[in-house]
Amino acid sequence: MKTLLTTAASAAVLALSAVAAQAQCDWKPERAVTYIVPWGAGGGTDANSRMVASMLERKWGVPFNVVNRTGGNGVTGHSAIANAEPDGYTIGAATVEINTMHWVGLTDLTYEDITPLALVDIVPASVLVRKDSPFESLQDLLDHARENPGELTASGTSQGGIWHLALAGMLNAEGLAPDAIRWIPSQGAAPALQELIAGGVDVATPALSEGKSLVESGEVRALAYMHDTRMEALPDVPTTKELLDSGWTLAAWITVSGPAGLPEEIACSYEAALSELFATEEWAEFKASRGADVVSMSREELAEMLRTSNVALGETIEAIGLAK
């Protein structure tokens, strides 16, 4: 019995000292930190990142300067994060595109070139049609597309962009040809929604949050939300999980990440600081004002999510013939 206790105690001590030797997690920046956002000012990634930056700034008492490095469909900003010195003084908002850009041949950059620190937001896709559309349900739409492949058109973002993968991946998962609804590229969700209400395309698959105002005003009907649970702000929109046999879902996401090779000490300090901030009332209010849920994931879970999402997105891109 005594031996057992001793063994247990020494094991505990060993485990504790192992953690202690690994990292104290009390690193903090001593000068200004650059926070790179690969997308433009005023967008969802920008708004979330600026909020995170200002909260970190108050916590650690050094400036967190948000820099919008836009361009090249996200290549410019993601490269800036990945190529930075791994000293904790350059971090940024790596987004789902880190797992799509390399499959379509835009860049060599992959998730292995960054160190994910925390998950900030999950942005699920939707299936939208015009108010006078003959399609009342997702099943109607899919049935029509199955019988008349190539007749309908959809839009939402560029060719091979994340909302394109949402549609093509769903069609593929449901056993349709990925181009049974033809994709019309656009420069983002706004021009795609313009096309949708002008009657230029039949379907749009942007983030439900992006189409929310048109759905609320009745200009557009939301047939589905590509997520496990319904959106709190639009509880009448069914999820693809409920509707589809394949249970297909797809969401874009936003992270806080540093360059690859970030020392464990710095990484776990960021993780600790961020998980503390994401538990605050202020963050909850901010998310609620945007109609989004607070999300949280440990670094290990996030790294695992990045790995699996990379494989899944790669398969989708392969299936729709965009892989290079």
Binding site: G40, A41, G42, G43, G44, D46, A47, R50, M51, S54, V66, N68, R69, T70, G71, G72, N73, V75, T76, S79, V104, L106, T153, S158, Q159, G160, R182, I184, P185, S186, Q187, A190, P191, L193, Q194, E195, I197, A198, G199, G200, V201, K212, S213, L214, E216, S217, E219, A288, S289, R290
Partner: protein, 506 residues
Amino acid sequence: MDIAAILAAVLAPKLVVTVVVCTFYGAFVGAMPGLTATMAVALLVPFTYFMDPAQAVAAIVATTTTAIFAGDISGALLRMPGTPASAAYVEDSYAMARGGRPRTALFVSLFAACIGGIIGVAILSAAAPQLARVAARFSSDEMFWLACLGLSCAVFVGGASVPRNFASLFIGLAIATVGIDVAVGHPRFTFGINDLLDGISFIPAMIGMFAVAELLRNAETRDPVRLGRLKVEGLGKAVAAGWREVRGRKINVARSGIAGTVIGSLPGAGADVAAWICYAISRRFSRTPERFGKGHTEGMIDGGAANNAALAGAWTPALVFGIPGDSVTAIAIGVLLMKGLTPGPQIFSTDALLVYTLFGSFFLANLVMLLSGTLAILAATFLLRAPRSVLMPSVLILSMLGAYAILGSTTAIWIVLALGLLGYLMSHAEIPIAPAILGIVLGQVVEDNFMVSMMKAQGDLSGFFARETAAFLGVATILIWGLLLVRAGLELAGRRPAASSRETNT
């Protein structure tokens, strides 16, 4: 809605101070070549996060209103248009300034901008939902034809002959092909340089083709008029003369104010296209088209009124559908969402006070602009005491810094220099610069919408005429092109009509 409540909201001290501060900020940013109204708003975003919604919207509105006007300041004084919306009539305002009336030119612009802006917001507050209904009919087919109409306007701009204008336009369109192909995402003419993936933006293009080219031309002359101090007239005289010019062109102001608002409300158009189209209309219907491009105020008034009116127009699709009409309202929508406000038809009932405060701040900003604009004109013309041989290179260095700041890379500076050389060669060949700028601004819009339409119709060209509005715009565009081609043919055959006699372009 209670008028008193709106007035109280608009005239709240916090809001008025915000508007005043932002008009000064807008005037500064707009006057700096290389900094645009969109950038001014993007830089403002972090501050709006700490403002209440009405204040944030007022800040954006006040900044853009003055920035678009202030783009005329550097255009008139240095031939470096501050925004592409000013590029349409820069030759006129620059010629006027060199003729010893820089302040008059600027007050003409200021008054036209102010009245144009007020017409714009009056239409916006009276008929936003109706305007948005029109905009909602625009798919890629309609936008393609609209952009083509915009391109055709290049041929009316400047005093040069039709073939020379075409040449310039095609140089601009060729430059616009650099970067990721919008439809299929393939990089073109980027030579493996990541900085070129997004193409060549009009900012380094304007700095290079206008400013560097002008500097190079000045370098080969000892002409004291070009290198020395500009003559500056008295303030009172300039204000009176400016007001007289604008008052004498009531019809132009009204026409361009209305047309500018409508064009601004259409997706993919915006203030730039509005200014060009209204300048072209102005020239077409002028009694003295031959004076355009040589310091004539008529086109300046039309273009200046149109671009400020278009700013208000661009808010219609943003407010009514939550779809941004231009890059500025795209940022504004982001800010509203951040505040938990969702733009859309319901915002007129759920947040009516905010919407009317927005209209109110538009009015207020246009009025306050008279004050901050006057001070900006005084400050800018004060700088003209320095000989231009010193002034122009200094401003150029500042604006190259601006270009560098946008891209965050030295590639921007090389682009400026290369395009400067191109602009210099073009001016030696008497090819006007302005149409090339329009080509760069619209090239991507034309191509993007053309490709999207072709993909929708699966390669069937008749798709461009399948929709009612598209068919109307398409026929109009083709008629105008036909007329222009005939005119170009006649000119090339040597029978040059008197109206387009070549200017010396100096």
